[in-house]
Structure formats: structure tokens, C-alpha cells
Amino acid sequence: MIFYIKQFGLFATIFLFCFMMNASTTNAAVLYDSSDIGAEYDIAGGATSGENFYFRLPTLSAPPSFPLSSGFYTDNDSIEILRLKRISGLSCDWSLRTPKLIDKNGNIPSGVIVSSGAASGDFCDYSIIGNTNGVEIAGIIYCLNGGCSNANGTMVLAGSDTNAGITVSGDNTQFVSGGFAFQLCDSGGCSGGFETVPQISTVTRIISFKPDNATTTTNPPYFELNAYINEEDLGAIKGIRLSFHNIDQNVLIIGALSPSDIILLDEDIENSGPFFFSTSTVSIADGNYRIEACIDRTFFGDDFGLIGGWIVGAFTDVDDCKSHQFIVGTSTFIGNVSQNLWQDTQDFFGNSTATSSEALARTCNPLSTDFGIRECTVFLLVPDPLQLSQTMTEARSAFLSRVPWGYFTRTIDIMSSQATSTLPSFTTNIQIGAGSDMTPASTTLTFDIADMVAGAGNLVDSIEAVGYEGVGFRTVFEDWIKGMVALLVILTIVADIAQSHRNEMADGNSREGKKLS
């Protein structure tokens, strides 16, 4: 199942979670404080009739799952007050609308009731009735009426994406980091807190994606994408993509016709704000992979989409593509070579302090502190590998897949594919013992080629060096075999080039001879 995080404003209700990360006691009356502010949370945004606004407490992972093993607050005193900071919308004291506390099992603690709120300046203070001593409080849910269905208005609370935990929508499908600010206080009342903190940068960008760079993971790997879309960039953004491809067989010389990317996510961007995607259901073979996260930009409009976007993309402020390598299971020789070549190229030609095409462009600005002639020359003349990759992808779809060279492309696709087929098995009848023409053979013998080859592979892998525990045949000979194959490839290519050159010289001499005669 793939989970999406959409723009926060579409959520029916907002709901905040996770206490322990930001636990702080500002004074003796405040028992728990998670009150960073600087952003607004409309807990009724996008609400429609019949929609369930009941929000479970989110865990540090999405989706939430109960019971929680951590991330909750165990009350040792009696919590008397829950404080929220209201910005606009419905008032605090509407009786049909009260927040509720949730314990680590996702249940409302028995006997604990949150009464209707009372305004205290910009704050809404809700009295908590019942004994909370020993209750393991994991979060807050907020319905806008008693039945947690339908919205009778909007209510905007102050909060921050820096508050610990995540906020989950009522249907348990949408998640954003942080949430509305709150304090839990004893009978001494709430005070302090609710201080504005710098929000996470709102520049449109790819924030992070997983698997992380140069990590080795098991199959199936966990893929994740975090991005942010600035509202002002919505008109220039077409979509967001997360894809990966194998770099073991995608050697540079056949890079243009290499196997297609496996696309995990490719959808249009319609809303601004934080963007989140994750999946762990894609099973792939062992090897080296390059994962790429891109924000695609438009130039001429949707009809031209990517074709126009990448022409001018390098000169915008949008840091549109990022990529790195990861390994599933065991890495491969060719994969490591191609990855190391790419990394060396980046290290040699790239500006070590530049993290985007915009930063590189500043190296050509003589008034900028980043100005450098070398870096500027590299930026202008050395082709960007990621842009090259996009160009080749466009070339592939634009004309390399058309008749007649499309047949070559298709051939390369088939030959570079990692899909497997079932090998045939053969069954024959044999006669054991004396037989006759009247008695057909009754014993069958089956040859399963796949099983036989697998058995041979297991046999080879089981061979261990004498006196060296754990050092198998593969450990000793794999690099030798790879080296021999690579050497054969290189010699074949060199021999073909030398033969072609010899043929050219022979043709040239014969033409010279004809001219002279």
C-alpha cells in the first residue's frame, strides 16, 4: 500500500501527536509543552459532509500503529488544563467541539473528559476532568462536533512543523510533520511557551529520499520521498517523480538505450506545502541502483511538459533533481565502477559547495561571493550528468523508440531486462528392468534445468577454502572472473578498432594505387 501526504490545507481536521521528543517544563504548572508556533493549522480545511474527522494519534512513522512503544507521556500529576492557541474561526467554548486525549493504545483514557473550552486571550483552555495519574498520554484528537462527522465551520490553530510527531487525517491516509501547539498543565494553570520558531524552509525542493546514499538494504527496500512545494512555484511545477534504475548493466556506452527506470511515483503537483511518499512493496534483485527524485517543471504548459521544462530548468531557482546510489543485497563490480566514475566526475568537476544549479550559476556572477572563473567555466561547458540523463530519456521517447531504430531500442530493452522466465523441464519415460513391446515404460524421469543449474550454483557456493572458515569459492574467485571478463571485453573492442583501422588503411592504399595508374 502506498501512502501519500497531500497538502495540509486539504485535511478535514488537524491532529497533533508525539509528546516525548519536545518535552519541556517551562514552569511548575506546565506538565508537558509542545508549543512551537509560526504556522497555521486549519483543522476543518476541506471538510465535507459525512467525512470522518476522527484522527488517531500519529506515531513517528506513517501510518500510525498502536500500541505505541514510545513517544507518549506518562502523567504523574493530575493534568487539569489543555491549552491551545486559537487564531481564527469557531470559538473555544462551542460545546459540540472538544479535543480528546488518547493513550498509547489509541483509546480515550477511561473516565477522562475534556470539557468545553474557555477563551483566555488568544488561548483556548480546556478543563480536563477525571484522574490522569498514570495515564500514558500519546496525543490529541479533535473532532468538530460530537460525532466526529461533518464540519460546522473552520477553526485555525497556531502550530509548527517543528513540533514533534506527525499529524494524520481522519481517514488515516494523509500525514504532515508537526502540528498545532499545545500545553498540558496542572491546577496552577498554563503559562509561557507558544514561541515563534523559524519554520522549515519553504523553498521548493526535494528534502530527502530513501534509501539513503551508499546504504545497503534488504529486499524489498523501503522507499521514501520528502519534498516541499512553495505556493509561488505551483504554476511552474508540473509534477514530482521518484524512480530508480539498475546501474550494474547500464554501463555508460549503452546508457541511452538502457532499461527503463522503475517509476515509483509520477504525479502532478496540484497543492503547495509538504509532500511525502513511501512504499516498501517493490521487490528487486540484488545489485547497485541509482535512485532519483525530481520535481518536473513546465515551460510552455502541460502540453509540452517535460520537453520545455528541462531546457530552461537549469537557470531557475528550483533544485529539481537529486540522485544517489544504494545497494540491495550484494553490490556488483560493474555497478561499483559506474557509480565510482560518476562520483569521481562529480568531485572533479563539481563545485563542492554548490548544492544546486542555482548555486553553480552564482559562480558566474562577478558580484557574488561565490564567483570563481574555474567553477563558472565548468558550469557553462561541462554537461551536467543529471541533465544528460534526462536528455537521453527524452531522446529515447522522442525518436529512439520510433521506426526503424525503435527495433534496436526494443532489442536492448529486452536484453537488459532483469525479468526471468521459467526454464522448460523435460520428462521422459524409461523402462527399468526387463520390458517388452507390449508393456510401455512406466517410470518417468524429469530433467528440471532450472533446478539443476541452481543446484550447481549452490554446490559452487558451498565450496570453502581449507583452513579459512567462511571463505568460499565465490569470495576467492568472483573478482578474478570479473577481471577476466572485463579484460576480454576490452581486448575485443580494441581488436575490432585495430581491424577497422587496418581495413581503412588498406582501402586508402588501394584507392591511391588506382589514382596513380
Binding site: I311, T411, M415, Q418, V453, V485, V489
Partner: protein
């Protein structure tokens, strides 16, 4: 960036010229023989063998590298003709 821009313009230009050609999704069927299915089955079988017996995987990767070289050579000769050498 300049090189990227030039390459992008070339790709855009060629894409526009050849956009009228039909796209190839599968290899053709000749005299009743589905070449695409044969190749998919054949390569898939090789992949099965490569997964089961790891030296085959290494040899197959080398084979692909050589095939890539000859393919590029063929393309270069096609475009450059006798000047390709």
C-alpha cells in the same frame, strides 16, 4: 549548461522531425513467429540461469557491454558513412 542546452535543442529538433513515425513497442511477427516473445523468453531464461549460477551473470554483463559497443559502432557508421572508418 551550454552543452546541455545544445543537446536539448538537438533532441527537441529531432523529436519534432521524427514525431510522425510510428512508435515501436514490440518486435514484429515474421511468418507466424513472434520475435518479441521469443527474445523475451530467451533472455528471461538467461536471466534465470544468471540468477541461479552467478558466473553466468558476469559473462552476460560482459556480453551486453560488447553488444553495446557494436551497436554504437553501427549507429556511427550509419550516420557518418565511409568517413566512419
Amino acid at each position: 549548461m551550454i552543452v546541455n542546452l545544445i543537446l536539448n535543442i538537438i533532441v527537441l529538433f529531432l523529436g519534432g522531425i521524427f514525431s510522425w513515425l510510428p512508435a515501436v513497442t514490440t518486435l514484429p511477427t515474421i511468418n507466424g513467429y513472434n520475435i518479441d516473445a521469443f527474445m523475451v523468453q530467451g533472455v528471461g531464461s538467461l536471466q534465470t540461469l544468471a540468477v541461479a549460477f552467478w558466473p553466468l551473470a558476469i559473462m552476460f554483463q560482459g556480453f551486453l557491454a560488447i553488444m553495446g559497443y557494436f551497436l554504437i559502432k553501427m549507429v556511427v557508421k550509419f550516420f557518418l558513412g565511409s568517413r566512419a572508418g
